[in-house]
Amino acid sequence: MSTEALPQLTAKDFASDQEIRWCPGCGDYAILAQVKKVMPELGIPLEKMVFVSGIGCSSRFPYYMNTYGFHSIHGRAPAVATGVKLANPELTVFVVTGDGDGLSIGGNHLIHAIRRNLDVNILLFNNRIYGLTKGQYSPTSEIGKKTKSTPMGSVDNPLHPLSIAIGAEASFVARTVDRNVQHMAQMIKRAAEHKGTSFIEIYQNCNIFNDGAFLFATEKDQKDDTTVYIEHGKPMIFGKDNDKGIRLNGLEPEIVSLKDGTTKEDDLLFHDEKLAEPSLAYMLSRMRYPEFPEPMGVLRCVDQPLFELGMQKQIDDAIKAKGPGKLEDILLEGDTWDV
């Protein structure tokens, strides 16, 4: 590595020369802006970054970044990113995917990338719809969703990205929302800093095919009551007047009022993102609007062995044990004879 100080990069340096082709008003713009804003803070040169995506509106993302980029095929970005990272672990790798890309066609790759725990950052733009194919319901659409392909409403049960990630042994899981740009920036930064696979679900508004899907979490007059911003070591308090909390009742969360003084802060559930056992994170991932406020923030952040390091270590160990491979030796393996 060069010892020279890196030139101070700005968000502008991370912008490519390509015209952005998302619909005006699309939540993807806000995410792009925050990523470009956070990247300079990481102190990583442009050329050491690779953005890998699948297919979907969200997956156009790499074209707009002045880093290395790979717009791959539908659902396969985690696999492509795995190859990039294994080939060159010094690269900082981001995966950008959508709810259809990452959880429908690419669900298998997503869970396996997460369980392997390579040091890769996965941003899943969840707009609960297939944007690029013009508005079919997605695996995260709510039951009863009326779309072009479900005129009478969808009948299948949606899945929940955070629960999937935690079930897949994720070492870092967070959620944020496109309209809360400061929080989003924090989450992206924390994900980037985490060693291991970081998974962020970003609620993203598709104003064309699923407008207002996350109004509950973004509208001024309700968001304080419908979301809870969780922080490590802090009690789970929410509500416009910070007058509500989450308390554990047996194994179930419940909403309690702090107003009447019968419940004190100490009785509330305190967030601990570092628990080895993922039950708390999983429980949080199951809290859903409208029954519960939906958690925003880092649900889980633990240290787990990195796949690429494990692979490198085996290589180093093999070299230590056998010496650097010599072609002659393996060609002569087994019985040989002279003619």
Binding site: Y63, M65, I73, G83, H109
Partner: protein, 622 residues
Amino acid sequence: MTTQTKTPKSVEQRTDVTIRFAGDSGDGMQLTGTQFTRTSAIFGNDISTFPDFPAEIRAPAGTLAGVSGFQVHFGSEELHTPGDIVDTLVAFNPAALKKNIDDVAEGGLVIVNEDSFGATDLKKAGFATNPLDDDTLSKYRLIRIPATKLTKEALKDSPLGARAVDRCKNFFALGLVSWLYGRPLEPVIDWIDKKFGKNPDVADANRAVLKVGHAYGETCEYFEHTYRVDKASLPAGKYRRIAGNDATALGFVAAAKLAGKELFYGSYPITPASDVLHALSRYKHFRVKTFQAEDEIAAICSSIGAAFAGDLATTGTSGPGLALKGEALGLAVMTELPLVVLNVQRGGPSTGLPTKTEQADLFQAMYGRNGECPLIVIAAKSPSDCFDAAIEACRLAVKHMTPVILLTDGYIANGEEPWSIPDVNKLPKIEVTHPTKINTNGDGSEGFLPYKRDENLVRPWALPGTPTLQHRIGGLEKQDGTGNVNYEPLNHEHMIATRAKKVALVAKDIPDQVVEGPTEGDLLVVGWGGTYGALKSACERVRGQGKKVAHCHVRHLNPFPSNFGDVLKRYKKVLVAELNCGQLRFILRATYLVDAAALNKVQGKPFLISEVENKINELLAK
């Protein structure tokens, strides 16, 4: 029926012999065959083997479905196939006898373990009566040995349990057959010592039974003679045995060394390709990265990612897996990244015949993708040739920035032959360059053009991590030069033509098509892949009868060598022989308007020399 005669032994000289060991999957026939092969190879014979095992790991014991076989052909002359007809069959149970007896030469030796011909064994194999006692085997010389009983007797003092004792009986057969063909026991004993060193009881037992089997041949006096097969006069050199999958793995490792790259092999287990993954995973000290992916799609996609980031990227599978890789192959064509995709063909369609051989994936390799999607296709012709073919595939991929499909098949993947080990220093270097500077010129614009092409239409391989060369690639149609997404009609047409021409230009970088035999004549036999040995042998035979027949075996299937069209025109007739329903023939007819005849076989088995010979004679007689 010829029964066991008691005449003194004489020694009969043979130029070549084919033995098949057959038994239940649990009888250890693969091991017996491998050890016999090893000994023969070390002794100095030319060898060619054909292991044939069931798809089920343990089909019900004693059934036809559970029969496992290993054929070895060894000789004092050059051999190119595992042998058409079996001279000696060792059958360890009735099912093995039933399944294999039709392949035995009339008058051939049939050695059976008579202890396993009880009523239930016979019933499981579907015999109404005991074939050892009626005239079922009257065409053959039957030798009945009580292998189970004698093994038990030999080990009556062994501390091993009854089942472990029973498992030693294949060494009895090995000892007996070794005696019959004058093979030394030392290589087997060395192997036993190494293999079971930590388990001396097992080592002692196997060694003892091996020797008892050998001694039995000497004393039983059932054999009219023993046989000698002298050393073969192979070209001078250092030799080893090699199976195709091992050779492919070594070829990949060698190619990475020659290119100064780290090898990446993404794969998902599938018969008969898994052995390549197994072999490569033992070469970590070469910095080989093997990645067992969650499926074939992830396997190829991870390899594409690794190629983008600068590894020598390879992925391997068999037919059904190649089908899954189709979309990603298109991505590799579009992004123009170097990638080698190994397809060890097996019987299809669908799951088909997982453990049997076939060549029916040529169309899939050539055309199995959406859109106009040409890539390089090459095939290996024999077990040892897999080494050279793997290096050639890697060389072409990195030099021409394109995916290459390397076709082998179950037959050469598992079959073994002696291999004259190449001199590492004589292997050709693989040149790889990565740009470090922006390549824009003239027009004043600054930046890096990822699709700026050289005279071969090859784009630069710029690696992430290189300052100032940041660029984006992907599966969408792109503008030539800049690589920017572009949907203009004429640009698309231009790009399709350019990608096709790039692959077509590879013809300048491959050797001319050679023929074995006369450069013109009455018939040209065309083949590709693992049928090489059978076609070569058949053509040599008919040439020996004075016929003007040549053989040409195609390594480069796309693009074809530039002279191939001319070669085809120099013969009155063309016969395309392949283990499918005529795929190469179809392509040759379309490409060269040649009225080629066909010899096709889709039985999960390789060609017999005689089948090819008969077809040649039939065509010549017309």
